[in-house]
């Protein structure tokens, strides 16, 4: 069977600049049948006092997942498409090692179930060629899922999948969209010369 979007080669891209903070992804994630009522996506407000910037954070699905490496019970598995799954319930001992180790802050210890749960890229859907719930509802396509050919045809920017956290190099299946190729400075601060430095021209009017 040929899938509309093959999860092994699909592009899952997150473009932070496009996020409008509407939380449609959070609501859609919570509607998934495999974890109904519990959303696995994080939607972070960076600094509301200074900006309306929000950041949707799905599991980045690392090639060598730190969460799985630190799991003492071998409860976190990666499948042949490179998708890192939620912990296996019979194995998970609710130790939260993965929660502390993940460089992206993804896993959640759901104390009610005594189990770590996380975004599994909607594997029930993506394994059948469908988009993950979040990407299927995102109105500004900050969360985008499709084929590489479609990305190149319809989107601008460069896909970035390599990360450096201190001495740790991480390569992820999920990409973020950057303006240009090369290293990305993820510090979100004032950009010199950009209107966002002074949106209401207060400095010039003083």
């Amino acid at each position: 069977m040929t899938l509309a979007i093959d999860p092994a080669t699909a592009v899952f891209a997150v473009d932070h600049s496009r996020c409008i903070g509407c939380r449609a992804c959070v609501q859609a994630c919570a509607e998934c049948d495999t974890h109904r009522g519990v959303s696995m996506i994080h939607l972070d407000t960076v600094d509301r006092a200074a900006s309306t910037q929000t950041i949707p954070q799905v599991c980045m699905h690392c090639e060598d997942p730190t969460c799985a490496e630190v799991c003492p019970a071998d409860a976190i598995k990666q499948n042949e498409d490179g998708v890192v799954q939620s912990s296996l319930k019979p194995r998970c001992i609710a130790c939260s090692n993965c929660v502390y180790a993940c460089p992206f802050g993804i896993p959640k210890m759901v104390t009610e179930y005594e189990q770590m749960m996380k975004c599994d890229m909607c594997y029930d859907r993506t394994s059948e060629g469908l988009k993950p719930m979040c990407a299927s509802v995102c109105p500004s396509e900050a969360l985008w899922y499709g084929t590489r050919e479609e990305f190149e045809r319809t989107r601008r920017g460069t896909l970035v999948r390599d990360w450096q956290f201190g001495n740790q190099d991480v390569r992820t299946k999920v990409a973020i969209v950057a303006d240009e190729p090369g290293p990305v400075d993820i510090y979100i601060g004032k950009k010199s010369g950009h209107w966002l430095d002074d949106p209401f021209a207060l400095e010039t009017s003083r």
Binding site: C19, V26, D44, T45, A49, T52, P199, F200
Partner: protein, 513 residues
């Protein structure tokens, strides 16, 4: 263009952070730059429009320096916006309530249309000037008589030919069709003046959604008879003598028309619970009791749509060729669609053909004027009202949904740190906001994303949390829309600390269920 850096504005190349109510000054200055720099589509203007010279003359005084003084936006930024618009081969100008909820809202929109016409950005791919509607059927309603100066098919209730056509479809005498009625705010004003004594409303919550809520409350109490059709017991329905339980759109079927003029099907997902009924069945029963059954003989929504096809035929929003089956089979059909073999019209104004009798568009001059109430010594701060993403309209539906309430449980007063510092207010302090109509207290949310001369309060809540306690009832003379976007207020620190929980902040700490 916005007094606040909204999430969409954050992504802009050029941001015009203007003083509330000065959109027209900025738009006029942009038009003037287009003329001065000759960033005009002369062929389009000559072949497909009238009135360019008059409209251009009306902005001859709108220099960049003047616009900067009026709007507070640096002249260089206005010029940059003009250059982007004037030199781009394609471009869309999108607006919503932000420029419409003004006493000069119609002029603001006309000024946008002038910019589109001057550069020929109509009837081509990637071009257009659009008002994004606030509701799923905002477009469809305004085409067929939601507003009581209209008749189906974009027709005018004062036009004798239009009246004759619709009377022939309805099978009544032309004289039985009433004359031009009042707009929503005019209705409330007439109730307050004792000129209207009875009211039947459908899904109408003016205690939250109309300005000057204290006036609205007194007006509702003065009605001799009030019947409300609504799906939930809204704050306004509490003032009714009779409440008829209506339906949500999930409980009914029919069509809506999108902003792009596409007629799409809505299917019922569930049936109304208990004694609740579909709104149109209630209306038909009322007509029956009033002895007018012959004009309301419908037993299905499809029958009503069939009548709408005939009533709209020949009008500019022509649905004649749009059958119920086509709407389903073709994933919606675009009007005008005058006959069944017609493919519909996905893009309006192609080839520069407009709906005026001569086929040409019209420039309308839009001279500058001030808003109805601007800050003074007594009330020195602009108040602008608007929405938050988790609430919808007057909140009758969304204030009942826990996950949405959690995101933004109560109104907050957004203000810039500079204003907050001048007033001795810290983030989370309870502040008193007073206008000539009334006052409210609510927590302050101190953010750099709003102008220092302006505060913002979202309007979705009732009672003492209603931002519309503060707003005034002046309306646009043409559209009848109130000036929700500008009132003059004074702000001071009140006692106590509020809960400024904006749940989006909490997600950083892992509590984002």
């Amino acid at each position: 263009m916005d007094p606040r850096v909204t999430p969409a504005a954050r992504t802009a190349d050029v941001f015009l952070g203007l003083r509330p109510g000065t959109d027209l000054a900025v738009l006029s200055a942009i038009f003037r730059v287009l003329v001065e720099r000759d960033w005009l589509d002369h062929d389009f203007i000559a072949a497909h429009s009238n009135g360019f010279d008059e409209a251009a003359a009306a902005v001859s005084g709108a220099t960049l320096a003047w616009a900067e003084r009026v709007s507070g936006v640096p002249a260089a930024r206005i010029e940059q916006a003009a250059e982007l618009w004037g030199t781009s081969a394609t471009g869309m100008l999108l607006h919503a309530r932000g420029i419409e909820h003004h006493t000069k809202g119609v002029d603001n929109v006309l000024a946008c249309i002038n910019l589109g016409l001057a550069t020929g950005k109509y009837g081509k791919p990637g071009c257009g000037v659009n008002t994004i509607t606030g509701q799923g059927n905002g477009q469809g309603g305004r085409e067929h008589g939601h507003k009581c100066d209209q008749l189906p098919g974009n027709r005018d209730i004062t036009n004798p030919e239009h009246r004759e056509h619709v009377a022939s479809v309805w099978g009544c005498d032309e004289s039985e069709i009433p004359g031009k009625g009042l707009t929503a705010q005019e209705i409330m004003d007439a109730i307050g003046a004792g000129e209207i004594k009875g009211l039947l409303s459908i899904c109408f919550n003016p205690l939250v959604s109309l300005p000057d809520a204290n006036f609205t409350r007194a007006a509702l109490d003065s009605l001799e008879f009030y019947a409300a059709i609504d799906f939930f017991m809204s704050e306004t329905a509490h003032h009714a003598d009779v409440v008829l339980a209506g339906s949500l759109h999930e409980e009914d079927e029919g069509t809506v028309t999108t902003l792009e003029g596409r007629v799409v099907k809505i299917n019922a997902a569930v049936t109304p619970p208990g004694n609740a009924r579909r709104d149109w069945e209630i209306i038909c029963d009322l007509a029956d009791r009033l002895g007018r059954h012959q004009y309301f003989p419908y037993s299905s929504t499809e029958e009503m749509f069939e009548e709408l096809r005939r009533a709209s035929a020949g009008g500019s929003a022509d649905y004649a060729g749009i059958t119920w089956q086509r709407v389903v089979d073709e994933q919606g059909v675009f009007w005008p669609c005058p006959e069944e073999g017609h493919p519909g019209t996905p893009r309006l104004f192609e080839g520069g053909r407009f709906f005026h009798p001569d086929g040409k568009a019209r420039f309308i001059p839009t001279p500058w004027r001030e808003s109805a109430e601007v800050p003074d010594d007594e009330y020195p701060v602009y108040l602008t009202t608007g929405r938050v993403i988790s609430q919808y309209l007057s909140g009758t539906q969304t204030r009942r949904i826990g996950a949405l309430v959690d995101q933004y449980p109560e109104p907050l007063c957004e203000m810039h740190p500079r204003l907050a510092s001048d007033l001795g207010i810290a983030d989370g302090d309870v502040v008193r906001v007073e206008s000539r109509r009334g006052e409210m207290t609510l927590p302050a949310k101190v953010v750099e994303t709003i102008r220092p001369d302006t505060v913002f309060i979202p309007y979705h809540w009732p009672g003492d949390k209603a931002a519309n306690i503060l707003t005034h009832r002046d309306i646009d003379p043409i559209s009848g829309i109130p000036e929700f976007k500008i009132s003059a207020v004074r702000v001071s620190k009140a006692d106590g600390r509020g809960d400024v929980r904006d749940d989006r902040d909490l997600t950083l700490h892992g509590d984002d269920r």
